[in-house]
């Protein structure tokens, strides 16, 4: 003890002597057979909590000696395998006390106690058994029980505010690493442990030297599920021909993994969506992403095929297979295939308020998406320091889209028919080589080739003379416009990265790479005449046949260092762009761009972390934006590219703070983002009645955007309380009828909820979400408030019954237009799975209140819309399931 503390304690003792006098309590601790218990514990806890706690450990002959003050104490004597003995004592009255401990009734068996949550440096381990309550059926139900983990309706997982990018099961990617298929399919009772790995990299030796910021989740299976086939199958039948069938099978052995998923339903259950299709890109390891240029693909060609959440008819077929095999000590093969066929019908009624008139519109659409994905990956690990990856990905889509629009403006009624068919193919091949040369030197090489082709054909048909003044249309009783479009892209990347670890605290990374793009864009618009003739618009500025090629040679240098709890990473990327736009006349341009980046991270103790990132980003538009001749976009819109576009530039700043204390049960995170586009592409829109023509321009300072969100949760007395706040504001420029206007919108939303976590009591989650929006569009202001109270109940009772119920009410008020909307959505289910039985039965009601439509309001550049989206009626379904 140093002198200071010594003095302090002596003073304390002196002071105490003045108040109390000291006594000694002595005695022995023995078992019921009068054998002394050595090393038994005895703790004296003063009833006045300000006094010090005393303790003693018995000697070989079971004797103890406690030096106590003359105040009342609660004394506990304990010994492993014996019942603790508790008594109260006042040492001024009692000085000797012999204690006899009784053996614990049940003998000690092997007891393994695992901590429910273990937080290591970049890893959180959840021992699932300790955290679940028994009514969980799929992985997503398990994840919702884990502190700090959130799962949304689209199957996205966030942990402490950060999105999980890679999903692993037993350390192997599950269907390419997407989260949705995993959370909807993996049976809850197969999961033993969930590991969350931050700064994850598939190539493990790159983890600490690359700047990977990905978060991965690894599901570890229970031992008894390994080497066995497990899974389940469910078949259900409901009112009005509704049906659902779902099956999945899993097999995990040390060398072979196999997963199969199949689903048929017409109840709008989204097993796999068209937008997920785009996420299955293949491509290189994320270490190669840093400092790359963004090549924005325009989504004009497929946005109409994206499935909507609210449909009046749905029919889905889905099948997927995932396989991985360890061939030998150094070769691992894996492959997956996904097939999906979705048919959907939607019906939307809306009232659109333009500046000078109001349109009532009905939109009826029918979509069919067929898609297939095939992926093969080979990992070759000849030794501990070399890793080779070969990935091949194919994708094929066949989409059909049919819609009818009835538009009424004042008393004028127009009907438009639109049919579009698109076939697309995609091929991607990558090769990667990572090598750790020595402790100080590591490199990564990656090459990537992508081929993509889409050829949508569109027909518009109406009896109204559309796009008057914008297209040279020939008068007919029925107007029929045909468009054929073709997009063909060839992209090739080669990147080499070198990591030099000077010492533990200083790293230098360098990059050299080249990207070459060759894009072809073709459009043809014609009017189909009644006499089988054709009115070709190509004489009037229509029709594109564009070759766009771009070469991007880039170099990067980064320096990363550690200073105490801080780590810094800063560097620059230098891009040299050279691009050619070839249509009518060839344009060739060069540009050099310097992109700095900076990031700092501080670990403020065990569970607190703060992170700041800045980078300057550059982006290029795709070929369609450079195509300077006209093409049709819809029955009321023509579009044209701009051959003079250049790259956009934007500043991006991000600040993130997290605290995660498992012991005290408090968790919170705060994230703030700021984006400022210095230069960017803005669509100039010219309106003529409901018709519009659109053309992109390069504009200075087109966008400023702030956003921030945070979440805090704490467990108090077995109730988990959580509150979140989200703030968003953006200022953006628009070119409307050649006027550059500045618009502003901001919204703030919050949510509060409480969830009970008692044993043998229903899990009840009650919450409230509210958001406030504020828009300023070309000088006119609008405000709205949306409120959403919700209730979720899950209860397991009578050994095997689970009842679940969820309810959400939406209420929307727009002050400026005096609009009010509300609707209520509710689902309920009763599930039975007898103990030790594979069979399960479920009665489920979807849309319990039989709500016909959802009301929504939206704002776009010049339109304020009030929309009714019709949904599926009430579905009552009885399902039988069998668990393998």
């Amino acid at each position: 003890m140093n002198i200071k503390t010594y003095l302090f304690f002596s003073l304390l003792v002196l002071f105490q002597i003045n108040v109390f006098s000291q006594s000694t309590l002595t005695g022995t601790i023995k078992d019921s057979l009068n054998n002394p218990l050595a090393n038994a514990n005895i703790i004296a806890e003063p009833q006045d909590s300000l006094q010090r706690i005393k303790f003693a450990i018995t000697s070989k002959d079971g004797a103890y000696r406690l030096k106590l003050e003359n105040i009342r104490y609660t004394i506990t004597a304990s010994y492993m395998g014996f019942k603790p003995f508790v008594f109260e004592v006042n040492p001024s009255e009692t000085t000797v006390r012999d204690i006899v401990l009784q053996p614990q009734a049940e003998g000690l068996k092997e007891v393994v106690i695992e901590m429910p949550i273990v937080v290591k440096e970049d890893t959180i381990i959840y021992n699932v058994d300790k955290l679940v309550t028994g009514e969980e059926r799929k992985l997503k139900d398990v994840l919702k029980k884990l502190p700090g983990v959130e799962v949304d309706r689209d199957g996205n997982i966030t942990v402490r505010g950060k999105k999980v990018m890679v999903m692993l099961v037993e350390n192997k990617k599950f269907f390419g690493g997407g989260t949705k298929l995993a959370v909807d399919n993996i049976p809850a009772d197969a999961v033993a442990q969930i590991e969350v790995l931050d700064n994850y990299n598939e190539v493990a030796f790159l983890k600490n030297i690359s700047d990977s910021d990905d978060m991965a989740m690894n599901v570890k299976l229970k031992e008894d599920k390994k080497n066995f086939v497990f899974g389940d199958i469910e078949v259900g039948r409901g009112n009005q021909d509704f049906y659902r069938a779902h099956g999945n099978l899993f097999y995990y052995s040390p060398k072979t993994n196999l997963n199969a998923i199949g689903n048929l339903n017409n109840t709008r259950e989204q097993v796999f969506t068209y937008s997920q299709y785009f996420d299955f890109k293949g491509g290189l390891n994320s270490v190669f992403d840093q400092g790359n240029s963004d090549f924005n693909a325009s989504n004009d060609d497929f946005s109409q095929f994206l499935e909507s959440e609210d449909v009046i008819k749905s029919d889905r077929k889905f099948a997927a297979l995932n396989f991985s095999q360890e061939v030998n000590n150094s070769l691992n093969l894996s492959a997956y295939g996904i097939f999906s066929d979705t048919k959907e019908k939607t019906f939307v009624q809306s009232i659109n308020r333009y500046n000078t008139f109001t349109e009532t519109r009905e939109l009826f659409s029918e979509t069919e998406n067929k898609l297939a994905i095939g992926h093969i990956k080979a990992v070759y690990l000849p030794n501990l320091t070399d890793q080779w990856y070969f990935k091949t990905q194919f994708k094929k889509t066949d989409n059909g889209y049919d819609n009818t629009i009835n538009s009424v403006v004042d008393t004028l009624r127009n009907t438009f028919l639109n049919r579009e068919d698109a076939v697309g193919s995609f091929f991607n091949q990558t090769v990667e080589w990572h090598r750790k040369i020595s402790r100080h030197h590591t490199f990564s090489f990656g090459a990537n080739y992508t081929f993509e082709e889409r050829s949508p054909r569109t027909i518009w048909e109406t009896s109204d003379q559309i796009l008057r003044g914008l297209i040279p249309i020939v008068d007919q009783s029925v107007y029929r416009l045909n468009q054929s479009k073709r997009v063909k892209n060839n992209d090739f990347d080669a990147i080499f990265k070198y990591y030099w670890v000077i010492d533990k605290n200083n790293h230098i990374y360098s990059t050299i790479g080249n990207t070459y793009l060759n894009h072809h864009f073709f459009t043809q618009d014609v009017q189909q005449l009644a006499d089988e003739g054709i009115n070709d618009f190509s004489g009037s500025g229509f029709g594109n046949d564009l070759d766009f090629s771009l070469n991007d040679l880039f170099f990067g240098l980064h320096y990363k260092f550690q200073l105490g709890i801080f780590s810094f990473d800063q560097g620059v990327f230098l891009h040299y762009y050279h691009w050619n736009v070839d249509q009518d006349m060839a344009i060739s341009k060069d540009k050099t761009v310097l992109l700095p980046s900076f990031s700092a991270e501080a670990k403020l103790g065990q569970s607190k972390e703060i992170e700041f990132d800045y980078d300057l980003k550059t982006s290029f538009s795709d070929a369609s934006q450079f195509a300077n001749r006209l093409y049709l976009r819809s029955y009321n819109s023509v579009s044209q590219g701009n051959e003079n576009l250049e790259n956009g530039l934007s500043h991006n700043l991000r600040l993130r703070f997290t605290k995660f204390s498992t012991y005290r049960g408090i968790r919170y995170y705060v994230v703030a983002n700021y984006t400022e586009q210095i230069r960017g592409v803005v669509n100039s829109v010219n309106y003529a009645g409901i018709n519009q023509s659109v053309m992109p321009f390069l504009v200075d300072d087109p966008l400023k955007q702030w956003s921030g969100y945070g979440n805090i949760s704490k467990k108090i007395l077995d109730i988990d309380f959580s509150a979140g706040l989200r703030y968003n504001t953006s200022k953006y420029k628009q070119l409307v009828n050649d006027d550059l206007t500045e618009n502003k919108n901001s919204s703030i939303s919050y949510n509060v909820s409480g969830k009970t976590l008692f044993d043998n009591f229903p899990i009840i989650e009650v919450g409230f979400r509210q958001s406030f929006g504020n828009y300023t569009l070309s000088g006119s202001k609008s405000e709205f408030v949306a409120s959403e109270p919700f209730l979720n109940v899950d209860y397991d009772f009578w050994n095997g019954f689970i009842v679940s119920f969820d309810y959400t009410a939406y209420r929307y008020v727009n002050k400026a237009f005096n609009e009010k909307n509300n609707y209520e959505i509710s689902n309920a289910s009763l599930y039975y799975n007898g103990e030790n039985s594979g069979w399960s039965f479920e009665l489920k009601a979807q849309n319990l209140f039989d709500v016909q439509f959802k009301n929504q309001n939206s704002f776009s550049s010049f339109i304020i819309s009030d929309t009714r989206t019709f949904i599926l009626p009430r579905i009552i379904m009885f399902s039988v399931g069998y668990k393998l």
Partner: protein, 197 residues
């Protein structure tokens, strides 16, 4: 490959060390969980890599140091505070101590305050390293440079627990002696270095 790969990725993806504390009757043995020693991991752990043996019957607390031999540690003086917290399902009490440490660079002593959390629900006097002697198993140690936390407790395991015993007649030196030995080694090293010049 699966296993090999897993071990490597575990090493790289979680930079923490795991230690094991075995105890039986009056003895305990604490050691670092053996794993693949990768080049960059030879630096050792901030939490130390020496195993410890303790014996309640003979009041021994021994650090089994490879370069210095067996070093006896004096028992620590504990003060139990009123703070409690949960580690896993166990209610833990906080205890504080002040350790006297020897600084090899300056050859002097300094003091370090250490906080531990122990649970009276497991009435055993053991703990990791030389932290022991509290009325309950120590589940967490908080020091400036590291935190040790229990992640798994197995009471009454079916397998035999491994305890590397140090007998009282095994050449055990005191801490003071070990400091002298450090000084000797240090002087030796300096001498060698100046000779090489």
């Amino acid at each position: 490959m699966a296993i090999k790969q897993n071990i490597i990725s575990a090493l790289n993806n979680a930079k923490t060390e795991e230690f094991i504390l075995n105890f039986k009757n009056e003895e305990s043995y604490y050691y670092k969980k053996p794993d693949l020693e990768e080049e960059s991991y030879l630096m050792g752990s901030r939490a130390g890599v020496s195993p410890f043996y303790t014996n309640n019957a003979t009041n021994m607390i021994i650090r089994i140091s490879r370069p210095l031999g067996n070093i006896a540690h004096a028992p620590l003086d504990w003060e139990i505070t009123n703070k409690t917290k949960k580690i896993g399902d166990y209610t833990c009490r906080q205890a504080k101590t002040t350790e006297k440490l020897y600084g090899r660079q300056h050859g002097d002593y300094h003091y370090r305050h250490t906080i531990v959390w122990f649970t009276p629900e497991i009435p055993l006097n053991f703990g990791p390293k030389y932290y022991k002697g509290l009325p309950g198993l120590i589940l967490q140690i908080e020091e400036k440079e590291f935190t040790l936390t229990a992640i798994k407790i197995n009471l009454n395991p079916s397998e035999e627990v491994k305890i590397t015993r140090v007998e009282s007649d095994d050449n055990v030196i005191t801490q003071e002696k070990s400091y002298n030995r450090i000084n000797e080694l240090e002087a030796d090293r300096k001498k060698r270095m100046s000779n090489n010049r």
